[in-house]
């Protein structure tokens, strides 16, 4: 019977990492351009972060400190699973603190705490092609990118306004990078789009199933598409975080009972915990018993 060998540092073999690093370097050289790469089959399912995992595996060194979030939270099941994977195959230090991490792998959010120079954020991307839902064929969309033919995106946004009075794209909101490539920011809420603009951190995007890597080098111009008379706006919450009282952050709506009870809490768990440690108390806290509060933490 076959015995399984030891896995290499961070799972991927060195040749594969080298191939991925080349793709990353090319992506950094052409911000917003989707670089095809020979994505490997990973031990987690496609659509569950195989692209992000391959990018992280290729840039990870033994001294890195890794943070993994999903929906902004460190303790969602898939984030736990990916963090455990790297703790196992690379034995790197992990953290939940945004400020302590050298590499942050994320699905669907950018941390509230602004990223700093030297940090790398790795986005998991399901569909890297911003034109895909307007044109299903890769052969077509590559030509459209080549010719900078982005009219159909503007038409789509216009049709939204004509039909609903608003641009009806709330996440994966397309951006234009350095005035050239239209790029899918991954399914982050448009609330997070402005955080990408001229971020001092290196931003890498990995799509495993679709075999694409793209990147935003530090301080890249990232502009969300809009119209002069319908400028891009982000979501605003009327509520504050029930746990840490934060305002102007992205909130998760938590259903508390079957009679319409709702409470809003920070989607970014590290941000919320840090604020509570600093002594901020949200309106939701007194109603929670001490036990429930401890469990929530």
């Amino acid at each position: 019977m076959t015995t399984l060998p030891e896995y290499n540092f961070a799972y991927l073999d060195e040749q594969t990492k080298r191939m991925i690093r080349r793709a990353i370097l090319k992506a950094i050289a052409i911000p917003g351009y989707q670089v095809p790469f020979a994505a490997r089959e990973m031990p987690m399912p496609y659509g569950w972060g195989t692209g992000g995992v391959q990018v992280t595996a290729s840039i990870l060194g033994p001294d890195d400190v890794l943070k993994v979030i999903d929906q902004g939270a460190d303790d969602t099941t898939n984030a736990v699973s990916i963090r455990a994977f790297f703790a196992k195959v690379a034995r790197v230090a992990t953290t939940t603190k945004t400020t302590e991490a050298t590499i942050i792998q994320t699905r669907h959010r950018i941390p509230e705490t602004p990223l700093s120079g030297g940090q790398i954020i790795v986005y998991q991307v399901p569909i890297p092609e911003p034109l895909r839902f307007l044109e299903p064929r890769e052969t077509e969309t590559r030509v459209m990118h080549g010719l900078e033919e982005y009219g159909i995106v503007q038409v789509k946004l216009y049709e939204d306004i004509a039909r609903h009075g608003h641009i009806a794209t709330t996440y994966a909101y397309p951006v234009k990078v350095e005035g050239r490539y239209v790029m899918d920011p991954s399914p982050i809420p448009k609330f997070d789009n402005p955080k990408m603009h001229r971020s001092p951190a290196l931003q890498l995007f990995g799509a495993g199933r679709e075999k694409r890597i793209y990147a935003l080098p530090p301080f890249t111009d990232v502009v969300s598409l809009d119209f002069e008379d319908h400028p891009f706006t982000v979501q605003r919450f009327s509520a504050r975080c029930a746990l840490c009282d934060a305002a102007n952050v992205y909130l998760d709506e938590v259903v508390t009972d079957d009679r319409g009870g709702r409470m809003f809490v920070c989607s970014d768990t590290d941000h919320c915990e840090t604020r509570r440690a600093e002594g901020h108390r949200g309106a939701g806290l007194p109603q929670l018993g001490q036990d429930a509060l401890e469990a929530a933490e």
Partner: protein, 363 residues
């Protein structure tokens, strides 16, 4: 409440423990052995090897057991292991004409050199559940051919080719493409297409092949030949300068004789659809050969109108590991994006109630 929406390491560990318990089932019933799976569920093992793209019955059987009989999950396990293996070279093309044949049928000729050989097939069985399957009754030893293996069994397509009635097989010395080592860029060559189909989902390809029979990209197919058996795998080692046999694999090969074409100085002749699959799987090999032929539409100036003729559509969606991963990822939390949609929907509903949406749209 707040706790309930968050998962944690403890929850994952407990879930996996429960899954291991369910996999084992009643402890009073003996556990399945890998040998039992290889020996008695061999067609499951074959499918896992074929779509897992790795010929290793032992590992495939372990994967079937680990996956509780979920074959796509088992294929996924085998693929995730395969991806860690180095690719150290290309084998020489398998010589299926020299196959040690277990089954061979042709629908185009009543008799052929080497003969028709039914072999182990479900064909012509009556699909009645056999009461004997409820217990372990003795099974008679099969009849075996007296050394007929010496008799040559030329491929039916080669017989047709000898008369010039079918398009010739074009030898190609170029290194075959490998979709596991490069990102696909369309249009692709037939080598890469056949590779993708060989590891594609049996059910998906079956449905596509079926659709060509129902008029969505019709190819007028005849089963020239299906053959199943063991073939040698040979590699050329540069230091030696000649090929050496490194092992043998069981494969199913289907040569579909399809719609004839001619023109531009070429007299009309039949065209080919080809399918080659690890293990014993006629259904898959036939489906692949139908889809292969349908995908060759451009070569024969046929209009591409049907899904089975659409290379990008077929190749992008035939991989069940990709498909199952992406479909099932929908059960991952999406509450950040959902929140964004909720917010917009509430705004739109509020504005609709206030009658403002229409005015804004009219602007």
């Amino acid at each position: 409440m707040y706790v309930a929406v968050k998962g944690g390491e403890a929850a994952i560990t407990n879930a996996h423990r429960l899954m291991a318990d369910r996999r084992r089932g009643d402890r009073d019933v003996p556990a399945l052995t890998v040998e039992q799976i290889i020996g008695q569920l061999s067609l499951s093992v074959d499918r896992v090897m074929a779509e897992g793209s790795l010929y290793d019955p032992g590992l495939a059987a372990m994967a079937v057991r680990q996956a509780r009989g979920d074959l796509i999950e088992a294929i996924f396990l085998l693929r995730a292991y395969r991806t860690t293996l180095p690719r150290f070279g290309n084998a020489l093309p398998l010589d299926t004409a020299a196959m040690r044949i277990e089954r061979r049928v042709s629908a185009t000729y009543k008799d052929i050199p080497g003969g028709q050989l039914l072999g182990p097939t479900f064909d012509y069985t009556h699909r009645l559940i056999d009461p004997a399957m409820a217990s372990d009754e003795p099974v008679a030893e099969p009849e075996r051919r007296p050394d007929a293996a010496d008799e040559a069994c030329p491929r039916v397509s080669d017989i047709l080719d000898g008369e010039g009635l079918i398009e010739p097989d074009m030898p190609d010395d170029a290194e075959p493409a490998d979709l596991t080592r490069e990102a696909t860029s369309y249009p692709v060559g037939r080598d890469l297409r056949l590779q993708a189909l060989a590891r594609g989902d049996e059910g998906f390809l079956l449905a596509l092949g079926y659709s060509t029979q129902r008029g969505y990209g019709r190819t007028h197919p005849f089963v020239g030949e299906i053959r199943i058996g063991m073939v040698d795998v040979e590699v050329e080692v540069p230091e030696l300068g000649f090929a050496i046999r490194i092992g043998e694999v069981r494969v199913t090969e289907c040569q579909m004789v399809s719609q004839f074409k001619g023109g531009a100085g070429v007299p009309p002749r039949f065209t080919r659809g080809y399918g080659l699959v690890f293990g014993q799987s006629e259904r898959k090999a036939m489906a692949v050969s139908l889809v292969d032929r349908a995908l060759r539409a451009d070569e024969f100036d046929e209009q591409r109108t049907a899904p089975a003729q659409d290379e990008e559509f077929v190749l992008e969606h035939c991989d069940n590991v990709q498909a199952t991963g992406f479909v099932e990822h929908l059960k991952l939390p999406h509450y950040v994006d959902f929140q964004a949609e909720l917010d917009l929907l509430r705004t739109l509903r509020r504005e609709a109630a206030e009658g403002r949406a229409f005015n804004e749209a009219a602007e």
